[in-house]
Amino acid sequence: MPETRDQRRMGLLLASPAALLMLLLQVLPLLLVLGTAFTDWQLGGDPPAFVGLENFRALLADPDFRASVLVTARYILMVVPGALGLGLGLALLLQGCGRGRMIYQTIFFLPYIATLAAMSIAWQMLLHPSFGMANQVLAALGLGGVNWLRDEATALPVLALIGVWHETGFAMVFFLAALTSVPAELHDAARLDGMGGGWDRFWLVTGPHIASIGLFVLVVLTAHAVMVFDTVALLTQGGPGNATRVLLYVIYQEGFSFFRSNVAATATVFFLAFTLTLGVLQLRLGRTRGAA
């Protein structure tokens, strides 16, 4: 379109619905949440007054909030390495597997698609203290049962296990894509260069090739894990005690059960800082991956 005037008008016309809606549904809420974090506003309460950094100070001093950050961190540290390692392992097993590969892949990916809320109930049945399979197996071995979701020691690890179950297939799919994109000629070249052993070639050819995707998957899995909510809401409601009170569940309770909008907003800002960091990393990694 050579006439730039026309082009300008058409561009504005086509982009304006998206621009206006983004302003209303993304920019405005972001400003709102940032603004609320600096006031004493509570939904349905008095008009807001500016309180500076008071909310942040209070939140950081709150032992419950600090505990929830710790709980979230522990959850991430269990889920991410678990899903990453298992995903890579399954991908490596699937990569040279001729027959049945598609069936395996489908089964491994199914948990990621399946509605997690509904699947949480299935896990609840599996872990039920009286008739759950876990305790039935323990009983058969002559061991006592565990109340998995009501025991402070096991509740978070069990949620992490469900998280790993949910995310492994997701990680696997990326590793599988990376593995199949290793050029066959590189393996041939390595053999002629004297790398006879499969293990040597893995480190020379396959390893570097999947390292970049591994980093990318790590970031995405962390972003998923920090947003854990469904299993907590359905299975433990943050309990027992505060053992599974993850960050997003705190925000949920503060904002939508207790209606302390300022506290929720402040926690959200923390949450945003973390996810934005991950987002920048993800975009960076995604971009370099695209260029390679």
Binding site: L186, D188, A189, L192, H209, A292
Partner: protein
């Protein structure tokens, strides 16, 4: 002295027989091209020589050593790949040095050397470095050694890949369509450089290509491969002037072959459209034959084959005539200034010495001058 000996190599992929008892001998230092259309089995043959595929039957000897059962990594063979296959995480220097490091250093030394722990490893490493530098100078890639493949152009990657293949001074160099990933101008330049470097290093070379001009330009000898067999093995001149079959004649050569169907006279004399050629092939007396000339074998004359001019291409130094003879296309290379125009009738005279004669099965046959006509 024979360096590479391929003997009766056969390879099947499932039901498909891609190589049918292929035999080939290359002399030491010789540049041999495997030329053929895609799917003729040339790349498979190369991969079998490299040890990347196993033949179903046949043997391969390199410098007198039988290679059956020898792993690719243990063969004294280097290869330049179509995609160059450089390790993306390594610099050009590390890529070129890798084959030497793998062979001269143990795994432990490689690891310790990187940490600067082993004096022996450091000494060998320095020696390898010297060799890489020297080779890089020859290949004119010295300034690129610190860069990774991702930041090199196609031509530069090509040279690094060549460097990696040459550094080991192996007794056989394999190249699998190494020019096909370069643009047209670079391809011409690189092709000449490869030929030059090969002669400089004197390494026996097996070069796979589907481009006959490429093969003609660089090879000492060409093996034309068609449908899993070597149809002809000879110098570029032999392949071009005396192709062993119609199929080879048609595959080699930049332009279409001019083919004419005819029947040899009872005494074996040959004629084209009533025009006696002064040649005879007694063995084919009375049989159907195919007479073929390349475009430079036909010239303008006052009499001869009457053709209708359809299209003229002026190439500057010479010109190409596309014409029609009895409803079939004919091409001739003429000197410029022929004075023809589209629609004209012209007369083409075939040069008897440029005739290629094939029998009904498409196999080449010799013919000799017919004495009677010569003296008449």
């Amino acid at each position: 002295m024979t360096q590479l000996e391929i003997e009766g190599v056969t390879k099947r992929f499932g039901e498909m027989e891609v190589l049918r008892s292929v035999s080939l001998r290359a002399r030491s230092g010789e540049f041999v091209s495997l030329l053929g259309p895609s799917g003729c089995g040339k790349s498979t043959l190369l991969r079998i020589v490299a040890g990347l595929e196993q033949p179903d039957a046949g043997s391969i000897r390199l410098g007198g050593r039988e290679l059956r059962g020898v792993a690719a990594s243990e063969r004294d063979v280097a290869m330049v790949f179509q995609s160059f296959a450089l390790y993306p995480q390594m610099t050009a220097r590390e890529n070129i040095a890798l084959p030497l490091r793998v062979r001269r250093l143990t795994r432990l030394q490689r690891f310790a050397g990187r940490l600067g722990l082993s004096p022996a490893a450091r000494r060998i490493g320095a020696e390898i470095d010297r060799q890489v530098e020297a080779l890089a100078r020859t290949l004119e890639i010295g300034p690129l050694l610190g860069r990774r493949p991702g930041s090199l152009s196609g031509g530069q990657r090509q040279r690094v890949a060549l460097g990696r293949a040459l550094i080991r001074q192996s007794s056989l160099l394999l190249m699998d369509e190494p020019l096909s990933n370069l643009d047209a101008r670079l391809r011409l330049q690189t092709r000449d450089e490869i030929a030059q470097i090969q002669r400089q290093f004197g390494v026996t070379t097996l070069f796979v290509t589907h481009d006959q001009a490429e093969a003609m330009a660089v090879s000492d000898r060409i093996a034309v491969m068609l449908k899993g067999e070597i149809a002809q093995f000879g110098t570029p001149q032999e392949i071009y002037r005396t192709p062993s079959s119609l199929a080879v004649a048609e595959f080699v050569g930049a332009t279409r072959l001019n083919r004419f169907e005819a029947v040899a006279w009872p005494d074996g004399a040959l004629a084209l459209g009533g025009l006696p050629l002064g040649l005879a092939a007694p063995a084919l007396a009375g049989q159907r034959v195919t007479l073929a000339w390349r475009p430079e074998g036909l010239s303008l004359a006052a009499s001869g084959l009457p053709v209708t001019v359809r299209r003229l291409e002026d190439h500057g130094a010479d010109a190409f005539l596309h014409a029609e003879y009895e409803g079939r296309p004919v091409a001739a290379r003429l000197r410029s200034g022929h004075g023809l125009a589209v629609g004209d009738t012209a007369w083409l005279r075939p040069a008897p010495e440029a005739l290629m004669l094939f029998d009904a099965a498409g196999m080449s046959h010799p013919c000799r001058p017919l004495a009677a006509y010569v003296h008449a």
